[in-house]
């Protein structure tokens, strides 16, 4: 947003000028009103570690992040390309598995991915598309280039905050939003409903969609209710559904009614105890049978975890080339794969320079921030990596870009690190990218951790209309 010399980049000049009109006192007031309104509306997440079920708002910083239309067009194309390749990769992994014979891609590494489900091989999802909903985490490196940090192809969350944040900033910066030609985000639920209808095993017009939530104790419960409400579909818990003769039904006050599409916000392992874990009481027994029989569509498809595995990530550019015959449009972060002997040696010898991530953990857990870690922490991680190299990847610490962010203690703006999670909805005809996405911000000075569970906040993301084409 702001150039190296401290002047606003041309596209965000209008937005920054609007902010100039506010005194710090006025801004602080707007900021606390915004937070109060989110709290009243219950736009909150539950804190897992807190036994009392405390709810917190996802803190919002009212200063928007602005992205120019031209830049966004490139990001859009890159995301669509990436999803197209990953969809083909998943089809392949649960089909012929031709990719395992490709030169650059280590077969054992892919087959060893924690969330790969070989039992699903041969099952074609009813709607063909395996990743109707994706959230891809991007960062902007010091060279100004957006790079992919992580793919989320299972149950990506956060889109409700994108829409809610816009409702808040719209009340406060209405004219700035108009003048800056900011593209709207409120249409997301409509596109999502359409995307879900498109994978239905029956006529889209006769389709009953439900949103499957683990329940009101889940940390993302607000988002589940938000999406159900804004799409006008029913929010169900596993016990509301049952399967008979490979058909899924929902229990209603007038008897059972058939369900065609399940937008599930439950992990694979808890979908169906029959299929995944017989000891579990959670889930809908028989759901996977109904899915395999083609009688119900699941979004996203089970087994997608093999494609967003952190160990597979380094090879996504190769997958794009393999399946599409194209060069990847979006750059990503150079990654050392500890399963490869050369990389492993480098990683254990250079821990102080690297960020190490466990491939099967998310939300900022299972990570070593080498430069900040103590010698003891590094030694501990070194032992863990050597014991199970397959579980770890490493990257040089990427300097995240910063955005002017309100610091409530100092009552002024200060630079804070941000990332960006755009949301991509995909049908057979192609992908649609929500113009914007969730900008997460590390609210603590000097911090790199943007996760909501660990002191992160969010910003409204203003994508401007592309006037270049």
């Amino acid at each position: 947003m702001i150039d190296v010399d401290g002047t606003p980049r041309s596209h965000s000049r209008r937005a920054t000028r609007i902010l100039d009109g506010l005194t710090p006192k006025e801004f602080a007031k707007a900021q606390s009103l915004a937070e109060l309104s989110l709290y009243s509306q219950g736009v909150t997440f539950s804190v897992y570690s807190d036994q009392r079920g405390t709810e917190k708002i996802f803190p919002i910083c009212l200063v928007p992040r602005v992205i120019s239309g031209a830049e966004w067009s490139r990001v859009e194309k890159g995301l669509a390309q990436r999803i197209a390749a990953l969809n083909l990769f998943l089809d392949d992994m649960y089909g012929e598995q031709t990719v395992l014979k490709a030169k650059n891609i280590p077969a054992d590494l892919i087959l060893g991915a924690k969330f790969f489900l070989p039992k699903l091989r041969g099952i074609r999802p009813p709607g063909k598309v395996r990743i109707p909903i994706a959230g891809i985490d991007l960062i902007r490196s010091p060279d100004g280039v957006f790079r992919v940090l992580e793919d989320n192809l299972r149950t990506p969350s956060g889109v409700s905050y994108v829409v809610e944040n816009r409702l808040v900033t719209k009340r406060i910066f209405q004219s700035a939003i108009e003048e800056s030609a900011v593209r709207p985000v409120e249409q997301y639920p409509m596109h999502l409903a359409e995307t879900l209808r498109a994978i239905s095993p029956v006529d889209p017009a006769d389709t009953r969609i439900v949103l499957l939530t683990p329940g009101s104790f889940n940390s993302a419960y607000f988002e589940h209710t938000f999406l159900a409400r804004t799409m006008g579909v029913e929010l169900v818990e596993p016990s509301d559904l049952f399967v008979e003769d490979d058909i899924v039904y929902v229990r209603t006050i007038r008897g059972p009614e058939r369900v065609h599409v399940v937008y599930r916000r439950i992990d694979d392992a808890y979908l169906d105890p029959e299929f995944f874990r017989p000891d579990s009481l959670l889930g809908v027994p028989g759901l996977m049978r109904a899915y395999a029989a083609g009688n119900v569509a699941l979004a996203n498809a089970p087994g997608n975890g093999v494609a967003d595995d952190k160990a597979v990530y380094p090879f996504v550019p190769d997958l794009i080339k393999h399946y599409l015959g194209e060069e990847a449009i979006l750059a990503q972060v150079d990654t050392f794969v500890c399963a490869r002997p050369n990389d492993l040696t480098y990683v254990v010898e250079n821990l102080a320079k690297l960020v190490v991530k466990a491939v099967d953990e998310a939300g900022g857990y299972g990570m070593l921030m080498g430069p900040q870690a103590s010698v003891a922490e590094r030694d501990d991680f070194r032992r863990r990596i050597l014991a199970e190299p397959r579980r770890y990847i490493a990257q040089h610490r990427v300097e995240l870009s910063t955005c002017p962010t309100w610091d409530p203690a100092a009552e002024k703006l200060a630079p804070r690190r941000v990332d960006l999670r755009p949301f991509i909805l995909t049908q057979q005809s192609g992908s649609w990218v929500l113009p914007g996405g969730l900008t997460r911000v590390a609210l603590v000075e000097g911090s790199y951790v943007v996760n909501s569970s660990q002191g992160g906040g969010s910003k409204d993301t203003w994508v401007q209309k592309d006037t270049s084409s």
Binding site: Q41, G42, L235, F242, R251, T252, I253, P256
Partner: protein, 353 residues
């Protein structure tokens, strides 16, 4: 409509109305203490008894505490273990509201959520300490606002019908209980006409029925007229007859054809019988007769609520129990036979007092 959600709609309505009634009862009882020359102890004790909280309350604080206005109010307002305290009702209502978030309107939800956060914050405690009247007023207003928003911002279809059936049936119990406070007050005090009028006025206020009553009876206050108004009046929206009749109509909205065997028939049939039974009754002024009539209605209403719970689960396969709920029962007076009530087991969970 999904059975689990339907169940929570019904209970949301009940909890909201319960919170409103309890707040009003506490508010009015405070005034009664000033209005009538009744010993303070005799004002608060009946409230504990009719709320069904007596056994636990006396066990914890001793029987004498029932005459202590501050202890009673604190127990009826804040006590989390008291299944009918304001705190419990608001928390339970908000929990149900979270479950039915996708059918509640944003405005209704926001109001419930704000009430819940307010009750759990320092502000509410401060208002409770410094301005009790204002505190009860605020709770009443918020609950009334929620129920008003439900009617004016939600689709008038099955979810709202279920919610409103909950409101109506809860209200039957609340009005009956409020009316039944009278014998408790009278039993130990030599009935003095001025005292009696003060009590009846207070009772009407506790049911928000003072003005409506005055319009109908031009100030002729007697046990006969007041009891008759609160039991039989067909146009007063808190009378037993009105609430039963309204609930009966709502059941046919939820389950069209409930008059005939099929979905919804079981609770409809029972409610229909109760309403017709009531229509054949006349109020005699003796407290005992009124008490018996009220006890029967509260018992039957509890059975009807359980029956609705079973019906909500729908024709086939059993649903998992979402957890126990609080059924408020009619408790007996010292000189009446105890009737165990409100322990009906619904298909979606055991509801005990």
């Amino acid at each position: 409509m999904i059975s689990r959600v339907a169940d929570h709609c019904f209970w949301f309505g009940r909890y909201m109305d319960r919170a409103e009634s309890t707040a009003r009862l506490l508010q009015v009882t405070r005034t009664l203490v000033f209005d009538a020359d009744i010993p303070v102890t005799q004002c608060w004790k009946p409230l504990v008894i009719v709320s069904g909280a007596e056994p636990i309350f006396t066990k914890r604080f001793g029987a004498g505490a029932m005459g202590n206005g501050e202890m009673v109010q604190s127990y009826m307002t804040w006590e989390p273990e008291n299944l009918v305290s304001l705190h419990t009702s608001v928390r339970a209502a908000r929990e149900s509201a979270r479950v039915i978030r996708d059918v509640l309107s944003l405005e209704a939800w926001e109001e419930v959520n704000e009430l819940y956060h307010w009750m759990n914050g320092e502000d509410a405690k401060e208002v409770y300490r410094t301005n009790r009247e204002q505190f009860y007023r605020r709770v009443r207003r918020a609950t009334q606002l929620v129920l008003g928003l439900v009617r004016s911002t939600m689709l008038h279809d099955t979810p709202m019908s279920l919610l409103w059936a909950g409101v109506m049936l809860e209200r039957v119990g609340q009005t009956a209980r409020t009316l039944d406070m009278h014998p408790h007050t009278m039993e130990l005090e030599s009935a003095h006409q001025i005292v009696e009028v003060a009590i009846w006025l207070s009772l009407l206020r506790a049911s928000s029925g003072y003005e409506a009553f005055v319009k109908k009876h031009q100030g002729r206050i007697s046990a006969q007229t007041v009891a008759s108004f609160l039991v039989f009046d067909r146009s007063f929206p808190r009378s037993l007859r009105y609430c039963l009749g309204s609930a009966r109509k709502i059941l046919t909205d939820i389950w069209p054809g409930a008059e005939d065997p099929g979905p919804g028939h079981a609770p409809y049939d029972r409610l229909d019988a109760l309403t017709k039974w009531l229509d054949k009754r006349a109020v005699t002024a003796t407290p005992a007769a009124i008490h018996d009539l009220l006890t029967h209605i509260v018992d039957e209403t509890a059975t009807i609520c359980s029956s609705i719970g079973r019906e909500i689960v729908g024709p086939p396969a059993p649903a998992k129990a979402p957890g126990a709920r609080q059924e408020q029962s009619m408790t007996t007076t010292t000189n009446m036979t105890a009737t165990a009530t409100g322990t009906g087991t619904s298909a979606s969970g055991t509801r005990t007092q």
